[in-house]
Amino acid sequence: MPLPGSLETLIDALRALPGVGPKSAARMAYHLLQRDRNGAARLAAGLTHALDKLHHCQRCNNFSETPVCDTCASPRRDARQLCVVEMPTDLNRLEETQAYKGLYFVLMGRLSPLDGIGPREIGLERLIERARDGVTEEVILATNFTAEGEATAHYASELLKARGLKVTRIARGLPAGGELEHVDGMTIAQALLDRRPA
């Protein structure tokens, strides 16, 4: 029996979510329609509202309702430091630490050669432009320590240094409270390689 057209459209739309295949999408659709119609209405309104209101901040590229986001506009942030992260979730993690008072730039991705994600797909060009505002003194690269995150950091660093900027990379090594006995070998090897004068 064919599904009603609107149900089919909904199931198809839900498949836009990452990791959701046809079966999960159908389960979600039936749940929303049968068990949680209020939730469905909130979801619909929330999506419409977010799509309408949220844009990329002109300065940091993160999502913002205003042309320049609150963090970038705040006079309490140190505009001499610019920390580069892959995703907004990474920015949130750094903010939770309360260890950093500078500004951010969110690439919204990473260079991933084997997935065809190059400099055009992430905000590398915008980062260069942003870092050359004349106020930034240090660019801190906080991309992930994955092969892709490392490649991104390397090329960002080359491009920024060629424009006379000071570039640093966040440190990697043993985690806080880490004991050699319990840390994985790769981390120990990198910590040895990245050792510093004590």
Binding site: P113, L114, A147, Q190
Partner: protein, 233 residues
Amino acid sequence: MSERVDGDPAFVLHTRPWRETSLIVDIFSRHHGRLGLVARGARRAGAAVKARLIPFQPLTLSWFGRGQLRTLHAAEWQGGGLMLRGHALMCGFYLNELLLRLLPEGDAHETLFDHYTLALADLNSRPEVEPVLRRFELDLLTELGYAQSLGHLASGGVIDPEARYGYEIGAGVIPPNRAAGYSGRALLALAAGDFSQPNTLAEGKLLMRALLAHYLGDKPLATRQLLIDLQRL
């Protein structure tokens, strides 16, 4: 029949997300060649295995299952391989892309596995990447039967270092034709694995590029395109 493999030496070539919490891991293993494995739950918070499933690291992997349903169940780091850095890292991605594009699934290529292991070590330790790349390209094409001997003519004749030659895909070195592109000296050096002369590298690059272009087909290499795009910034 379901297979069970324990502790095969292997490298991760690439990973991509699969479903909610899993990864599909493309590997190059010593005894089973290129395969795709599912690492179930590898993307869950706190899953220790994800940190080990990164490219260019010598691992031993264990899996079971068959066809598209092979499941990874253990990954151990073998030590020694440090993360490639800078431009060498991009060259590592290039090697992986060649393997992903050209190696047929499930064919063991133990000699090539050794060549790949050596190429990664060389990328890590040598300042010049070009000889490493040319050597691996030639090893890969030879292992797959795509490169004919460069040490003698396709007809069996001797190559004169002072003469110039053509190369016909599928046949090998041929007498000079209209587009006689390669010097005898460079061809003999390539055949001997001697990459010390700049001209060997330059002509080797042209020859490898022509061969790779033929076997890769219309789809360009993403790693090469990425470097071109970066240079425009």
